[in-house]
């Protein structure tokens, strides 16, 4: 379970927060011209990165504001939180050892930090 730092209220238990999935998915500005494939891309396709992932949280049992966070999904370490509208902060993390971030055959106990270019994992 996480301790999440709400940028408005400070550090609180994860149970106070609702997860709101991948951040920075821009709404289409010209929906009339979009094809079905474009809509599928917007509605369904996700980066689902193993590594640094920009995601939204909502402080449901607190200020009820949405905010963004950068979290390493390979270690669950929060690297930054920032308000909606603010630019994504620069964070640094160790490069990936392997795609799964582990020694082959090691099981999953010793997950390692795996960097991502924050556009990667996707394309």
């Amino acid at each position: 379970m996480f301790v999440i730092t709400c940028p408005y209220c400070g550090a609180r238990d994860q149970t106070e927060f609702a997860y709101a999935h991948e951040a920075h998915i821009a709404r289409p500005t010209d929906p009339e011209s979009m094809s079905d494939a474009d809509w599928a891309e917007f509605v369904f396709m996700r980066k689902n990165t193993k590594g640094i992932y920009a995601e939204r949280w909502m402080h449901a049992a607190g200020c009820r504001k949405f905010f963004n966070a950068l979290r390493n999904t390979a270690t669950d370490e929060f690297l930054a939180v920032y308000r909606i509208g603010e630019p994504m902060p620069e964070v640094s993390a160790e490069g990936p050892a392997t795609p799964c971030g582990e020694q082959p055959g090691s099981g999953n106990d010793a997950v390692k930090i795996m960097a991502d270019d924050s556009g990667g994992g996707g394309r």
Partner: protein, 416 residues
């Protein structure tokens, strides 16, 4: 390869068990294969098995990052059922259930398949109506299903609490008598042994680090044990489907979440079936070792850490104790998490991709185990023929463009 039998067991007992041999070879990677399956879990091995058995492709390999049985195959709660609402789902899950029935004999491996019955509980009128609808839909699809009132539930599972005074009283439930549980390790070991017998190389400790694509077609994979050439590559990597797909620049409609399970200390046989509840959200069965096997929901956030949150466990323990007060003094022995790839419609992806020769089977969400043989069977067909068969066709990636989703979330997918 020597058959396993009662006679053999007896003979080896007399000979100090000196005659047993490893169930599969420790194969060395060849430079090239006709097809490579990424992922040595249940679905991956089943895929390789049916490729070799039904499609004559024996010059193939299964590459596995860890060891056979060490991934999600060893982390699930082994519940088998096929009582899904929609025709497409009923077709694939019931196909799997049919294969499960004879799989032990077919593999010459005791997979401890136990058709002990699966109950899905209803706790309010709305849920009861929805489950009754599902029973009728199941019957139309040839899936055995029946509705039980709360006394019928109590008769089938005597330890359940049907008091009207609890927060979410049990008012009835559906029963699929052919549902049940089996032994996860035995399934993967059995498949691996048969694959090996047919000449399939099982490459453990072999992690895929890259996929080479030339002119839009797969030409091979880079692994921790060197480059392997192959024209057909099948990804069956539950929990890491997006990571593998990203190697060829594909984005998928998948999010990966931790899903936790727990087992209690062993008890004498007390829990005769599988009980699942979507509303209070817990599912529970008793393994042949006597441990209660308990599971529930995913953590909401994306994570690959195989660790879930304690509040999820608290919630499911609360649910369990309301349904089964008799378990209140039980101690829990182990708790673990696995990573599940969840699609927006809670149905899997069995599909070709824009990259020629690259196939994906994944996104089974929280309930892939029950589909293992059916999934492998349909996927092998897709790989061999380069066209999905009738069972796999509804589960292609195109459905996210056309909108033909198989939306099982409301119907079945909360609890698997």
């Amino acid at each position: 390869m020597a058959r396993y039998s009662a006679f053999r067991l007896f003979r080896e007992g007399l000979r100090g068990n000196s005659g047993w041999r490893p169930a599969w070879r420790a194969a060395e990677p060849k430079p090239a294969y006709d097809a490579v399956v990424i992922g040595g879990g249940g679905h991956g091995l089943a895929t390789a098995y049916y490729l070799a058995k039904l499609h004559g492709l024996t010059n193939i390999a299964v590459v596995e990052k860890g060891w056979i049985g060490g991934g999600n195959a060893g982390r699930n709660t082994t519940i088998i059922r096929s009582n899904y609402l929609y025709d497409e789902s009923a077709a694939i899950y019931n196909h799997a259930l049919t294969l499960w029935k004879t799989l032990g004999r077919e593999l010459n491996f005791n997979i401890m398949m136990s058709h002990r019955g699966v109950i899905n509980l209803a706790h309010d009128e709305g849920e009861a109506r929805q489950l009754k609808r599902r029973v009728e839909a199941n019957r139309l699809n040839g899936v055995d299903a029946e509705w039980l009132d709360e006394h019928g539930v109590k008769e089938f599972c005597p330890i359940i609490n049907i008091s009207r005074d609890i927060r979410y009283p049990v008012i009835g439930g559906t029963l699929q008598r052919s549902g049940g549980v089996n032994r996860h390790d035995a399934v993967v070991w059995g498949y691996a042994r048969k694959c090996d017998e047919m000449g399939v190389d099982i490459l453990q400790n072999c992690e895929v680090t890259g996929i080479r694509v030339e002119a839009g077609a797969v030409i091979g994979i880079d692994t921790s044990r060197g480059f392997i050439k192959t024209p057909k590559l099948a990804s069956v990597t539950a929990g890491h489907t997006s990571v593998i797909a990203a190697m060829v620049g594909l984005r998928l409609p998948i999010e990966s979440h931790p899903l936790q399970a727990l087992v209690s200390e062993p008890l004498k046989p007390i829990h005769p079936c599988v009980v699942m509840s979507n509303a209070v959200h817990v599912y529970c069965s008793q393994s042949d070792k006597g441990e209660l096997v308990i599971g529930a929901g995913i953590d909401a956030h994306v994570s690959y850490t195989q660790r879930g949150s304690i509040d999820i466990i608290e919630h499911q323990m609360g649910s369990l104790l309301e349904l089964f007060p008799i378990f209140s003094r039980l101690r829990l022995m182990r708790q673990w998490g696995g990573i599940v790839d969840v699609c927006p419609d809670a149905s899997p992806i069995i599909s070709k991709t824009p990259v020629k020769g690259f196939y994906i089977n994944g996104g089974w969400g929280t309930g892939g185990w029950k589909a293992t043989p059916g999934s492998g069977h349909a996927f092998a067909d897709l790989i061999a023929n380069d066209e999905p068969n009738a069972i796999a066709a509804p589960f292609t990636m195109e459905r996210f463009v056309t909108g033909n989703l198989v939306a099982e979330h409301g119907a079945a997918a909360v609890a698997h």
